[in-house]
């Protein structure tokens, strides 16, 4: 049997359904791969081998009984540690939640379990999903499988690295300002951010509630669409879940895979052109766009004059919502408690606990948000940022009157070395320059491999109108026919 860790999720699902390989064999192969390479990569914070084997055996038994299996039944998946998993540690890579085992599953976990998928474990991230490198994890960074001295992106660097290093064929990420797409770009994987409200936030530990969106992390576009179909759709437990059916995303990915983009209009954002992408990134993206033209797409330039204010608006809105959301870590209902020695009041215990339990980036954002929401500053900062959000949304709507999708680099630079952006937090924020406008608007966007620059992966971002996720899958799958999935160099301690 060939190495099942190299297979796509679609192939694995088909092979398991046909009885060519058992779900247990597939799961054990991935657990072996994790044991062999995760000491170097550190994609996982927790591996649930026992639970995974049990889930895989349940699928094999169901098949033996003649039950019909779904397309991803028995396929392993890694879950970002910001998603509540019943009975399995969920820390958000923070000391404040160390050892917490949620008493319930997130909606997307219920759907993943119902689809017969096999959770391998929980992946590393920047603490509470705040960061672009995983260097803000309280449990040490994840390393990029392409170069272990470089960051895997963030916040979902663990999910992207796990998929890039063949530790899992699929993973779940969450995207608030680019945390699915930027790790996808710098690890040479596919990262898909669905329409906001298209995937449920119930059981996603909240960072910025008006922006947080869970989505697929995969090696192929079809796999992303298949996983999106499992987790997506209306959830009555999420007040901002869109009560409408998902677009036909899997069909769109299959249509795109025919390599025909005739009739598709692609927009280039004029205002992005001058904004600091590295030359190698710009060149790879240019080639990818030329490839799309060869497949029949028409490319036009569009103007989105307010995009340059997206980054400032985001770094007011997201920290404001975070400062409110993270108030729930009060040393009472779950997590850490420090200073409860009979000498300190409840308020002092809260302050000591939060000081000990939160890392530097989380503290920075809580204070920034507290500032932006405080009386006297509210209108100038938070209020103004919300108005800018309206203007950015209007820019998107005007652009989508002219084109079907917008494309850009996913992130301005390839994976950077550890420590190169932590001393100046704003330099880290620039990693999200191209991804943030979409979050403010709420539309879907996907990052797909666009080739290499200096031996490191570059991502192309494809943005679509809200609830038109099918468009981005079509264009992404078409590009894949020209730029096939990337393979990182072999890690030591493994055969490949």
């Amino acid at each position: 049997m060939s190495d099942v860790t190299r297979a796509t999720a679609a192939e694995l699902g088909r092979m398991i359904g046909a009885g060519e390989v058992s779900a247990e064999e597939v799961t054990r192969a991935h657990l072996d791969r994790i044991a062999a390479v995760d000491g170097q990569v550190h994609a996982f914070l927790h591996v649930d081998a026992e639970g995974a084997i049990a889930a895989a055996r349940a699928v094999d038994s169901a098949r033996a009984r003649g039950e019909k299996l779904g397309p991803l039944a028995g396929v392993p998946i890694a879950i970002k540690d910001v998603i509540a998993t019943k009975g399995v540690p969920t820390t958000c890579a923070s000391k404040i939640l160390e050892g917490w085992r949620p008493p319930y599953d997130a909606t997307i976990m219920e759907r993943i379990n119902a689809a017969g998928m096999v959770m391998l474990g929980k992946t590393n991230m920047d603490e509470f999903a705040m960061g672009s490198s995983t260097e803000y994890s309280a449990y040490g960074p994840t390393r990029n499988p392409w170069d272990l001295g470089r960051i895997p992106g963030g916040s979902g660097g663990g999910s992207a690295a796990a998929v890039a290093a063949y530790e899992a064929p699929l993973a779940i990420g969450t995207d608030t300002g680019g945390s699915i797409r930027q790790p996808g770009a710098v690890t040479g994987t596919v990262g898909s951010k669905p329409t906001y409200g298209g995937t449920s936030r119930y059981g996603l530990v909240a960072f910025s509630s008006s922006l947080d969106t869970p989505g697929p992390v995969t090696r192929t576009v079809l796999d992303a669409a298949l996983l999106h179909e499992v987790i997506g759709g209306h959830d009555p437990r999420d007040s901002t879940s869109i009560p409408a059916p998902l677009p036909a995303i899997v069909e769109a990915a299959r249509l795109g895979a025919t390599g025909d983009l005739s009739g598709v209009r692609i927009g280039l954002v004029r205002e992005f052109a001058g904004e600091g992408a590295e030359p190698g990134v710009a060149a790879a993206v240019r080639e990818a766009i030329e490839a799309l033209v060869k497949l029949g797409a028409e490319v036009v330039e569009v103007s989105c004059p307010h995009f340059e204010y997206a980054l400032p608006a985001y770094y007011l809105i997201a920290p404001s919502e975070a400062s409110s959301n993270l108030a729930r870590f009060d040393a009472v209902r779950y997590g850490l408690r420090v200073g409860d020695d009979g000498q300190h009041s409840l308020e002092e215990v809260m302050s000591l606990t939060r000081e000990a339990g939160f890392g530097p980036e989380v503290k920075r954002r809580i204070m920034l948000g507290t500032y932006a929401l405080s009386s006297g500053y509210y209108e100038a900062y938070y209020g103004q940022a919300q108005k800018v959000r309206t203007l950015i949304t209007n820019d998107f709507k005007a652009a989508f009157e002219q084109v079907d999708v917008l494309v850009s680099p996913t992130t301005p630079f390839v994976a950077f070395p550890f420590g190169s952006r932590t001393s100046d937090p704003y330099q880290m924020y620039l990693a999200d320059l191209y991804t943030i406008p979409t979050n403010l608007y709420g539309g879907p966007a996907i990052s797909v491999p666009a080739g290499l620059s200096e031996g490191l992966p570059v991502g192309l971002q494809i943005m679509a109108p809200t609830m038109a996720d099918d468009r981005m899958y079509r264009v992404a799958a078409a590009l894949e026919t020209v730029i096939p999935p990337l393979t990182p160099p072999a890690l030591s301690g493994s055969n490949s």
Binding site: W100, R101, P103, Y334, R337, S345, Y381, T393
Partner: protein, 99 residues
């Protein structure tokens, strides 16, 4: 001119219930100043007559049917608490003065 002073950062930390130390105050004051000067650019946009967007999805209240559904048991709800007693969350004293 600095957008934010060290004293203001200390005040924010108190409001946010973060017992930051003196060294952190120095670091955060410098970093927050850089960030605030950068994000203050939103003020350059003329937007007086623009309505704010709090959310990309238009929100209306949706009420579910008044039907009992299973929820967490008391023990499940208390399972992650740092301290619990008699089926309740136990907390340190709330009032500063002696009881």
């Amino acid at each position: 001119m600095a957008a934010i002073s060290r004293e203001e950062v200390a005040h924010l930390a108190r409001l946010a219930r973060l017992a930051v130390n003196e060294t952190e105050l120095d670091t955060f004051a410098g970093q927050l100043d850089v960030i605030l000067q950068a994000v203050a650019r939103v003020g350059e946009v003329a937007a007086a007559d623009i309505p704010p967007t709090s959310h990309s999805v238009p929100l209306t209240n949706i009420l579910r049917d008044d039907v009992v559904k299973p929820g967490l048991t008391r023990d499940e709800a208390l399972s992650g608490a740092p301290d619990a007693a008699d089926g309740r969350f136990r907390v340190p004293r709330i009032l500063d003065e002696e009881a």
